[in-house]
Subunit: 193 residues, 2 copies
DNA sequence: GGCCTGACAGATTTCAATATCTGTCAGTCA
DNA sequence: TGACTGACAGATATTGAAATCTGTCAGGCC
């Protein structure tokens, strides 16, 4: 029976739970407040708006989804193999969720779709990681590129079909794995110069 | 006052007009029939269903949009320059429409989004054209690839961000042109081997 | 015969009344 | 004092009855 303090984190946990249960379209701030046993006015003390709350939930989800990627960046081995592993990990994470629990994935896809600012930030973060691997590859003599950051962005763009939720409907195609490897093959040769 | 015969083509023209005016969500078969001055039953003599009619309109639009591409395939000059021109033409056609008349583009985007079979057919056609250019490039010694068709598909996939309507929202980004050239640069080097 | 109409059943959409939600804020309580 | 409540205005969503639409088909017209 301990008195729980109302924190942004506790609200986020509950909001995520409510959004999962009711779906992103139906979940309301009132629902979240009810689940927490407080008035909805209290929620607005911690988040400026419903949009801000949704953004925060989305940001957390994206961060969690991409947590394994940092490890790959810090990994050892030649940069080309590392970049391939990084992209495969990203693609596998997305496809895994999409296949695992399509409804939950659709839920998050909806959130992501209209959280432009959050996604931009997230993409910038991904580009940073790719750029780091490419830069190291240039150092090793594995890659030859003029503009590392542009190349990093190009790699992410070129593989959009395999990780961008906008293409999720195509991920059930049995040839999607081969398609990804074909694009990777072209990119890898392109990076080698 | 000449009696007009009811042909599939005349229905298609009218359907396109009606869809433009009312939007893809509101346009009905009855609207099309009314515009033609016939009963809606007659329309079903030429198209098995509303979906079939929409598909036919979509197919015509895609064909029209991509008409300039055939000329580029048949063009002269080295294959790499030709492929670059082909992709630029495709991208320019899409961006042009999207910028020109966003509402009309959104209309067609909606149609395209739920005409999976039509789009698959269309994509196959585009891959054919790319494959032809790449094959000629291999003949010229400009390109070096194992599987021409797979490479063609990879080129289309890798440039999805720049021509797939699912990404239309990103096309207003001022750096989109540079991003495209960066991806092209990587692909071109990859194709050269 | 072949093209078209008009009426029909069941599915879908519209519309307006009703309920709920978002975001604010003065006031309560500890 | 500072976290919280509850009532409020305007915006948005739900609902169910009525209207419209889709797809079919028997029958009329040339």
């Amino acid at each position: 029976m301990s008195e729980q303090v109302l924190t942004a984190d506790r609200i986020l946990d509950t909001a995520e739970e409510v959004i999962r249960r009711f779906g992103p379209a139906k979940a309301t701030v009132v629902d979240v407040a009810r689940a927490l046993g407080v008035s909805h006015g209290s929620v607005y003390r911690h988040f400026a708006s419903k949009a801000a709350l949704r953004d925060a939930v989305t940001r957390r989800w994206l961060d969690r989804l991409c947590a394994p990627l940092a490890a790959v960046v810090a990994d050892t081995g030649p940069a080309d193999a590392r970049l391939h592993r990084w992209l495969s990990t990203l693609v596998a994470a997305k496809h895994g969720r999409a296949l695992d629990d399509p409804e939950l994935f659709a839920t998050y896809m909806t959130l992501v779709m209209d959280a432009r600012a959050v996604v931009d930030e997230h993409v910038a973060h991904l580009v940073d990681q790719i750029a780091r691997i490419i830069a190291e590859g240039v150092g090793e003599g594995v890659f030859r590129v003029d503009d590392v950051r542009a190349a990093a962005r190009a790699v992410l763009d070129a593989t959009a079909r395999f990780h961008n939720p906008a293409h999720a409907a195509e991920w059930s195609d049995p040839s999607i794995g081969r398609d990804f490897e074909a694009v990777w093959g072209l990119l890898a040769r392109g990076l080698r110069g």
